[in-house]
Symmetry: none
Subunit: 203 residues, 4 copies
C-alpha cells in the first residue's frame, strides 16, 4: 500500500480522461452536443459531475478535445508526408486507409458531419479541416493531373464530393449503403472519372 507514484497518478488521469472523452463522443455523436448534458456524460463515464470538471473546463472544452484528438488521428493517419506524385498503388492505399478510418471510427465521423453542418462553437470546423486537408487535396490534385486530366480542379471537386457523399451515406444509412461495397465502387469510379477525362481521350 505504498503511495502511488506520480506516474501511476498520471496513468489514472489519462485513463479517466479517455473514459470521459469516449462517453462524450458517443453521446455527442448520437444525440448532438446541445441535447447531451454533463450529467449524462458523467453518468455514462461512471464518474461524478464534479470530477468531469476536474478534467475539463467546460462542456465546450470536452467537445474541442474530442475534435482535436480526432483531428490529430486523421492527420497522423493520412498525412502523406511525401513529395512528388503518388503511384497508383499509393493512391489506392491512401483511399483504403481513409475508408478504414471512417469505418472504424463511425462515431467520430458522425460528429464530424454534424459539426460540419452546424458548428457549435464559433470556429468553423470545415475551415479547420479545409486548411488541414489542403495537403491532401494537393496530393490528390497532383495525382489526378498526373493521370492526364484536362480539368484536375474540377475532377478533384467531384471526386471529393463522391467521397464525402459516400462517407455521409455510410454514416447515416449503412444498411442501404454498405461501406465495403461502396469502397470498391468508389475507387473504381474515381479511376473511371479520371481516365475518361483525359486530355487525350484516344490513349
Amino acid at each position: 500500500m505504498s503511495p502511488r507514484t506520480s506516474t501511476q497518478f498520471e496513468t489514472i488521469r489519462q485513463e479517466k480522461r479517455k473514459v470521459i472523452l469516449e462517453a462524450a463522443l458517443e453521446l455527442f455523436a448520437e444525440n448532438g452536443f446541445h441535447a447531451t448534458s454533463m450529467s449524462t456524460i458523467a453518468k455514462k463515464g461512471g464518474i461524478s459531475k464534479g470530477l468531469a470538471y476536474n478534467y475539463f473546463e467546460s462542456k465546450n472544452d470536452i467537445l474541442e478535445e474530442i475534435v482535436d484528438e480526432g483531428f490529430h488521428q486523421v492527420h497522423d493517419l493520412l498525412d502523406p508526408d511525401k513529395d512528388g506524385v503518388l503511384s497508383e498503388e499509393e493512391f489506392i492505399s491512401f483511399l483504403e486507409k481513409t475508408f478504414a478510418m471512417v469505418k472504424n471510427n463511425h462515431r467520430y465521423w458522425k460528429l464530424y458531419f454534424a459539426l460540419m453542418i452546424q458548428p457549435v462553437v464559433s470556429e468553423n470546423l470545415s475551415e479547420k479541416y479545409a486548411k488541414a486537408g489542403e495537403p491532401l487535396f494537393r496530393m490528390m490534385h497532383e495525382f489526378i493531373a498526373s493521370k492526364g486530366s484536362s480539368d484536375p480542379e474540377g475532377d478533384l471537386m467531384i471526386i471529393s464530393a463522391m467521397l464525402e457523399g459516400t462517407f455521409l451515406y455510410a454514416i447515416v444509412a449503412p444498411d442501404i449503403f454498405p461501406i465495403d461495397r461502396m469502397k470498391e465502387k468508389v475507387i473504381d469510379g474515381i479511376f473511371r472519372i479520371i481516365q475518361s477525362g483525359n486530355k487525350n481521350k484516344a490513349v
Copy 2:
C-alpha cells in the same frame, strides 16, 4: 366595429404562419434546433412568444411543419410521374431541377442535412426521404441501366453519393465548391461514369 370576416382572419393566419416558419427555418438551419429558442424565433418573426404558440403547438411542431412543407415542395418538384425510361434530355433536366432546388432553398437543405445526421424527433428523417426517394432512385436506376451499365445498382450508389456530397459541399462550403460550377462537372461526371461502365466498352 363588426368583427373581421373569417377570410380576413384566415389571411392573417396564413401570413403570420409563414413569417414564423421562415424565421424558424433560418434559425434551425443556421444554429440547430436545440440551439434555437422560441424567444429567438419570436423575436426574428417580430411577434411575441405567446403568439407563436397560438400558431404552433410546440417548437417540435414548428420543425415538423417545416420539414413537411419542404418535403412536399421536393415531392411536387421532382416527382417524375413518368413511365418508361428517361431520355438524356429529360435526365439532365431532372438533374438541373435538383440543383436549382438546392440552390434556391439553401436553408431548407442545410436543415435537411442536419436532421439527417441527428434527428430531433424519434422519426428518422432519412427513412421518410428514403421512401419518398424510391421512385427517384428507380428512375435513375433505369436510366443508368438503359445506358448499358454492367452494374447499375453500384453505379447508382456512387452517383447518388456524388450528388449528396456535392449538395453537402454546396451547403457548407459554397465558396470552395460553387454550386454552378459543380453542377456542370457533376452532370459531366455522371455521364463519364455511366459510359465508362458499359458492358461493352468498345463502343
Copy 3:
C-alpha cells in the same frame, strides 16, 4: 327583419350569460378553478373568449357570480321565513328539500365543497355561508331543543356534521353512498340522536 327590441337583446344577454355560467360551473366543479382556463370556458360555452369578457370582468368574477347565484338559490329554497318552532313534518320537509337540492345541483355542491376547503378569493366562503346559515342553525337548534335535548348545541353540531359528511360522500362517492338511501338513514338517525339525548330519557 325589424331591429330587435331592447327586450330581445336583454333576453339574448341573459341566455348567453347563463350559458357561460353553466359552462364555467361544470369546469370549475370538475377540474377546479385554477385548472380551468377562460379558453376552455368559452369553448364549452360555444362563444369566443372576447365575448366572455363582454359579460364578465374576469375569471374571478365568473366564479363570484356562480357562487352568488347558487347562494341565492339556496337561500330562497331553504329560508324558513317562519317564526316559532317547526313541527316534525316541517322539519322533515326541510331536510328533504335540502337533500333534493344537493341531488339536483350536484355540480354546484362540488364546487361549494372545493371552495369551502380552499377559497380562491380572499373572502372566505364558509364565513359567508356561516352567516347565511345562521337562521337555519337557529331553526334546527330550536327544533332540537323543543324535543327535549339536554345539549342542543352539541347535538346540533353532530347533526350538522352528519349532514355535511353525507353531502360530501354523496358528491365524491355516490356509488358507495347513494344519496336516497342516505337520506332515509340520516333523517332516521337525526331523530335517534335527538330522542336518545332527551333530558328525561324515560319518556
Copy 4:
C-alpha cells in the same frame, strides 16, 4: 478535502427532502396544488428552485410523495391488525386515535379533503383511501353489528358521514366546531345511534 461519506450525503438528503415536503404540504393544503408554484415552495423551504428538482422529479411528484407518506402514517396508525370483534374500549380508543390524527396533522387532512373533491392526478384519491379503508369499515361494521344493530350497513354509513363531516368542520371551521368538544359529542352520538337502533328496542 475528502468527499463527504455517503452517510453524510444521505443525512443531507433526508433532511432537505423533509424541508421541501413540509413546505409543499403547507402550501398545497392552504392554497391548493395549482395555486402553489415551485418558486413558492422553494422560497418557503429556503432553497433554490433548481434544488427542489434535484429531490423531486416534478411538482406532481412532490404531491404524490406527500400523499403516500401521509397515507402510510394513517395506515400504520389505524391498522387494526386484529381479528374478532373490538371491545367497546378498543373501539373508543380507535376513535380517539383517529381524532388525534386529524388534530395533529391538520394540514395533511386539509389537503386530503381538497384532493378528495378535486383530484389533481388521474388516480382518484378516494379510491385509494376506499381500498385502504376497507378493513376499517369492516371493523366498524362488525362492531356495530355486535351491538345488535338491525341495519349495520346503514348505521355505518351515517356514522362514517358523521365522522367525515366532523373532520371537515374541524378543518375548515375549527372556531365554530372545536375538535375536542366534537370528539366527545361524536363518540357519544355514535353510541346513541347504535343503541337506539337495536333490533330489540325494548332493552
